[in-house]
């Protein structure tokens, strides 16, 4: 790692101020992606602004019957173990429980994962399928507008993600095929059905531009909720990643297989 200054503010305004002052400051929450990236010298922020001491960024609130707010610095372990989350949407708890390994889940946070928008991370699929709003210190961003491209989000410079509001599905399920080496998702599919048969299917790990909605399957499932719809829905392989772990056509097959797992889990 290159040298940097470590800061640990205890309110969001102070964190935002530090971010403004620093040449090239970076917000750190759990650090589970950022620190390994810095160890590989692929990132070299001048300062790390640790936001985990900010009390406002911790916790899970049921803000209304159909909205659950998870604050940015809530760890994956706490989401996975939360009764509140399980009652609201068990698929979300299960997704959190499948991120990394137990030690990563003890440190890694939802805010860090979503703000980073790693194309192989799990949470972007949850936010795209179940998310209502991404909240920052300045504004509320519609979840559907949040992810812009690989490692890119709608967050402006200096903007800190503080919480995410999730909408309550009538049913939902997540299927993940882990990379055999890194165990990140090679294909992760979240299927959620809301009232009025509004269906969302979000795919992570497999897209050239990061997480994406599989609209063909959404439409097919709206017509018929069943495995046959998954077999029939088209996937544009030109939009899928190809690397040494799997060519685009294989990733296409994985997406279908994981969609089936997700559907089965959703019930």
């Amino acid at each position: 790692m290159y040298t940097f200054d470590y800061k640990r503010p205890n309110d969001t305004a102070k964190a935002a101020e530090l971010l403004k002052i620093e040449d090239d400051g970076a917000i750190m929450s759990g650090g589970m992606t950022l620190l390994p990236t810095m160890k590989q010298k692929l990132a070299a922020p001048s300062a790390l602004i640790d936001i985990t001491a900010i009390a406002d960024l911790q916790g899970i609130d049921r803000v209304s019957d159909d909205t659950l707010r998870i604050k940015a610095c809530t760890t994956h372990a706490n989401v996975a173990a939360s009764d509140e989350v399980r009652l609201f949407c068990v698929a979300l708890a299960k997704l959190a429980n499948g991120i990394g390994d137990p030690a990563v889940r003890h440190r890694g946070t939802i805010g860090g994962s979503v703000a980073n928008n790693d194309p192989a991370a799990d949470y972007p699929a949850a936010v795209m399928a179940l998310g209502r709003t991404v909240i920052t210190q300045n504004r509320q961003i519609a979840a559907s507008d949040f992810f812009v491209g690989m490692f890119e989000t709608a967050l402006d410079e200096g903007e800190i993600l503080t919480a995410i509001d999730f909408a309550r599905p009538t049913r939902a399920g997540y299927g993940k095929f882990p990379n055999p080496a890194s165990r990140y998702a090679m294909a992760g599919v979240m299927i959620a059905q809301f009232a009025d048969n509004d269906i969302r299917v979000a795919v992570t790990g497999a897209g050239n531009d990061g997480v994406f909605r599989w609209t063909a399957l959404e439409e097919a499932l709206a017509n018929e909720w069943g495995i046959a719809s998954i077999d029939a829905a088209a996937i544009d392989e030109a939009t899928l990643l190809s690397d040494m772990h799997g060519a685009a056509d294989y990733r296409g097959a994985l997406i279908r297989a994981m969609a089936k797992e997700a559907l089965q889990a959703a019930g």
């Binding site: 040298t3 940097f4 640990r8 390994p36 590989q40 790390l48 990394g100 137990p102 030690a103 003890h106």
Partner: protein, 159 residues
């Protein structure tokens, strides 16, 4: 340079270190607690596992500066004097280690696992929860056996 105060195995520490210092480096280089090992640089092997406030954490992926007011336990703090922790005893009894390099991390992970799942810990759960710990010697068979036995022994001792 930041000064960070925390405890390691119950002993108060005031760590003065470069901000980029990883917890594992501080434990090994400054406190000479060398039972915590480094086996990779991508947070995957788990050889560096310690407990922070009772939870398993990879000490290669946290900064010592992040440890303010935390209670850290390393492998050296696991046994009660001469008396081994039941997890340690189980690893010995079931030949759960060969070269021993991954073992401290395995033991720290196993203790955390037993804390979370209790005596009902089954083979599938153990294997799933060992996702972040790599062993190159044993083929894991005896590690899984050791953890299972430890969970049962601890439950029996409690009841």
């Amino acid at each position: 340079m930041t000064t960070t105060k925390f405890t390691v195995n119950g002993v108060a520490v005031s760590a003065e270190a470069e901000d980029r210092t990883l917890l594992v480096s501080y434990l090994r280089e400054h406190l000479r607690l060398t039972g915590t090992h480094v086996g990779c640089d991508t947070s995957q092997c788990g050889a560096c596992m310690v407990h922070v406030d009772g939870r398993a954490v990879k000490s290669c992926t946290v900064l010592v500066a992040q440890m303010q007011d935390r209670a850290i336990m390393t492998i050296e703090g696991v046994a009660d004097g001469d008396d081994l922790h039941p997890v340690q005893a189980a690893f010995r009894e079931h030949h759960g280690l060969q070269c021993g390099y991954c073992t401290p991390g395995m033991i720290m992970t196993a203790m955390d696992m037993i804390r979370r799942h209790g005596p009902e810990l089954d083979e599938e759960t153990i294997k799933a929860d060992l996702e972040g710990n790599i062993c190159r010697c044993t083929g894991y068979v005896n590690i899984v056996k050791s953890i299972r036995a430890a969970a049962q022994n601890m439950a029996a001792a409690d009841s």
